[in-house]
Every structure is written in C-alpha cells, then in structure tokens.
Amino acid sequence: MKKRLCWNQRTKTLILLAVAVFYLAGVAVWGLVGRESALVTDFSRKNLTPSLSYLFGTDWLGRDMLARTVTGLSISIIIGVCAAAVSAVIAGLLGVAAATLGKKVDAVITWLIDLIMGIPHILLLILISFAAGKGLTGVILGVSLTHWTSLARVIRAEVLQLKESTYIRTAEKLGHSKWRIAKKHMLPHLIPQFLVGLVLLFPHAILHEASITFLGFGLSTEQPAIGVILSESMKYLVTGKWWLALFPGLMLVLTVMLFDLLGECLRKLTDPGSVHR
C-alpha cells in the first residue's frame, strides 16, 4: 500500500477544474467591468496590428479588440450560463416527470424529445429567437428551448433504472415514503448526472449564441457580442486585417473547450467507477 507521490488523475482533474473556473469567471467579470472601454472609438489608433499596447490590435473605428473580445465573451458566457441553467431545469423536470408520472406522460415527453431532436438545431433556434423578437431574450429562449432534450433523456433513463433497482425496491418494502426514497436514494445518483449535463450544455449554448448572432438572428449589432465581432470582421478579412477575426475566434474556441473540459472533469470526478483510475 505505497502512497504515490506523482500527480494522479484526480489531482490533475481538480487543477484543471480550478484553472477553467478561474479563467471563465475572470473573463465574465472583466468583460462586465470593461464594457465602457470596448465601446470607445478613437480614430487616431485605427487599424493597428497587434502590439504590446493593443494585444489584439484595433479595428476600423479604433476600438480596442481585446476589450471588445473580452466583453463579447462575457456576454456569451452569461447567456450560456442562463440558457444552460434554464435548459437543465427543463430537462430535469421533464426527465423525472417522464419516468415517474406513468406511461401516457412518458409517451408525450418522449415524443416531444424526438420531435425537437429531429429538427436541425440551428433552424429551430433561429425560429424561436426570431419569434421572441431577437435580442437577449430571443437568444436565451431559443438556446434553452432547444438544448434540454439529450439531458432529459439521460435523466429519464437514470430514474427508470433506479426505480427498478433492488435497493430502491427494498427501501419501499422497508416502509420509506416516496419522498424519502427520492431524497436519500435517487438524488445522490441524479445530481452528478445533472451537474455534468448542465456544464456540458454551456459550450453548446455559447457556440449557438455566437452562430445565430453571426447570422444576424441574435443580438443586435450595437452589442459587442462575439458573433457580431466575427461577422463584422469577415468584411475586413479580405483587406488583410486578419487580427480582427483571428483573436476573437481563438478566444471563443478556447472558452468553449474549457467548458467542455470542465464538464468532462466533473463527469470523471463524480463517476463512482473512477475510484480505480
């Protein structure tokens, strides 16, 4: 029973988790605080290539691209968090309802899941966002109404399986109430699933927010959203101003990947089978 000194999987996972949380929180806060500077135009510093004073360069209106990118990302992260949270709550409620409220409810919810999964994501997103009047509400509504399906499926399956497990049936025979069984026996299984699902929804939400904004169905063009930045930058790309699209794009990819990593880390940590790794 030697203790290992080198970093093991769990330690690595925890460090990654801390880095990811720190980065994302940092970007979100910095973006909100530095919102003003992202809007400042200054024609004396038009179209500067990246340098030490302007790390990401400036655009055709002399705006600091670093400030714009961070602000854009912070908006994305906030939208992502809201949308993912709403989505996860819908998924949780519908998943549990499908598994516990009898065959008819289950059939309806399963049908709904199949229906939504059958329509291309982006199409439905655009439709809902457009119908809700675009802007912030439109985007959040659109993203949260389209992303709950797979998590709902997972939760439904988990509850169904738990309901039939020997230890839960035994708990019933030991005279425990439904409520107590749900709290004591089911929740410890569902919460990790739910958390992981929630975190893994973020990258989707952010990407989809950026893409419908990019396509012009999301946030309005006055907002320094990442989708707006990217779509505007496209026009200047041909004139050789590569930095306008490159850095915001890279930052978006980094953010999305970090969220994804975060979800994976959480999944590994909460998996009881990971004891052996």
Binding site: S165, T166, Y167, I168, R169, T170, A171, K173, L174, G175, H176, K184, H185, P188, H189, P272, V275
Partner: protein, 211 residues
C-alpha cells in the same frame, strides 16, 4: 402468525410460460422452512412474490389472514437477496444502510459480526460476506415477522455461512420470526430447517425433517 400463499400463479408476461401455477405454501411463525428446487424453477420469483415485490397473476398472499398488499408502510415480510452488492445503494455509507432498517438493534448488528470500522465505508469497500451481514441486519428490523432468505450464503465461505446461520437460527427462534430458507445445499437445509419442501416437477411434497 402465519404467512400463506394461496393458489398463486405467476408469469412475467402474457407470452411467457407460467413459472408458478396454483402453488400453495404456509409458513408459521417460529418455523424454519427449507426449500430446494432445480435451477430455473423460479425460487427467487417465489420469494419476490411472497415478499410483495411481484404481484401474482392469480391467488393471494395472506399474512395473518389479511392480504399482504393491504399492509401499508413497513412490510413485515422481508427478503434477503442472493447478491448483496445489488441490494445496497452504492453511493451510501453502510451506516445509512443500517438506518434504512426499522430500528435495527445493536444486538443484531453485533451478533452478525459487523465491525464498527465497516459502518463508515461505502459498499465497494466491503466484501460480499461483509455486505450480506449488513443486508441481513437491515432485514431484521423491529417489525419483521417473516424472513425470506434466497440463497443468501451461496457465495460466502463455509465459516461465514455457519456464522450467519447460527445467528439467524438463534434470532428467529428468540423473536418467533418465520423463516423460509431457499438453498441448493442439502447439508445446509438439513442443518437449518425444521421442515423441508423439495420441489420437483412442480408438485409439492413435504418432507418432515427431524432436527
């Protein structure tokens, strides 16, 4: 008190064959009935029906003359499963498993040889024999009147087996708990039961065993 299965029939679905047909059985408090049958006979299913986990297609299970399904809350008929690994929640510590039972007495826990250190552990950190002791303790709550033991010591070593059965025989005698012991081991049934039922070809024949 008497646990009675009256003419029960059972099958898992319409399409499948009947596992049990018009089967009747009576167990008195303080009696230890040993049941043996070939594999694939549906012994586990019978225990599940008797403990109320499955509903028979026809026939009734009566406890003290009253249908078992009418008992609300704690079921006086408790079943102990062959595989304790599936009968405990993998995410709960063993002390929580004991707390699930009906005020299980410290005497029972001690009598089953459960060590204090085990209670703080998760199921994955205990062996099958250790887990089974917890499952038995949990089933021996205050209001338990009948105990159904479905091959509970099959996977355990002989010493653990006799430890557990020694305790169970003593405890059920003391408290007047009726016991159904399902096993394929002739030797064990001979040691444990006051009455033997051996099922072949779906016909019941009772062999009185004198201990």
């Amino acid at each position: 008190m008497k646990l009675e299965a009256r003419k029960i029939s059972f099958r898992y679905s319409e399409k499948e064959r009947e596992i049990w047909k018009d089967f009747s059985l009576e167990i008195d408090s303080g009696e230890r009935v040993g049941l043996s049958a070939p594999s694939g006979f549906g012994k586990t299913t019978l225990c599940k029906i008797l403990a109320g986990y499955e509903k028979p297609e026809s026939g009734v299970i009566l406890l003290d003359g009253k249908p078992l399904s009418e008992y609300r809350g704690y079921c006086p008929v408790q079943m102990i499963w062959q595989h304790p690994e599936y009968a405990v929640n993998p995410r709960l510590r063993m002390e929580e498993v004991l707390r699930d039972g009906d005020q299980v007495e410290e005497r029972v826990i001690r009598g089953l040889g459960i060590e204090d250190g085990w209670r703080k552990r998760f199921p994955a950190e205990l062996s099958g024999g250790e887990l089974q002791r917890f499952c038995i303790a949990r089933a021996l709550g205050r209001r338990t009147k009948f105990l159904l033991a479905d091959e509970i010591s099959t996977m355990l070593d002989l010493i653990t087996q006799s430890q557990i059965w020694e305790f169970l025989i003593h405890e059920t005698k003391e408290r007047g708990i009726g016991l159904l012991c399902v096993s394929h081991s002739e030797g064990l049934l001979e040691r444990v039961s006051t009455r033997r039922i051996s099922l072949e070809n779906k016909e019941q024949e009772a062999i009185p065993a004198d201990m």
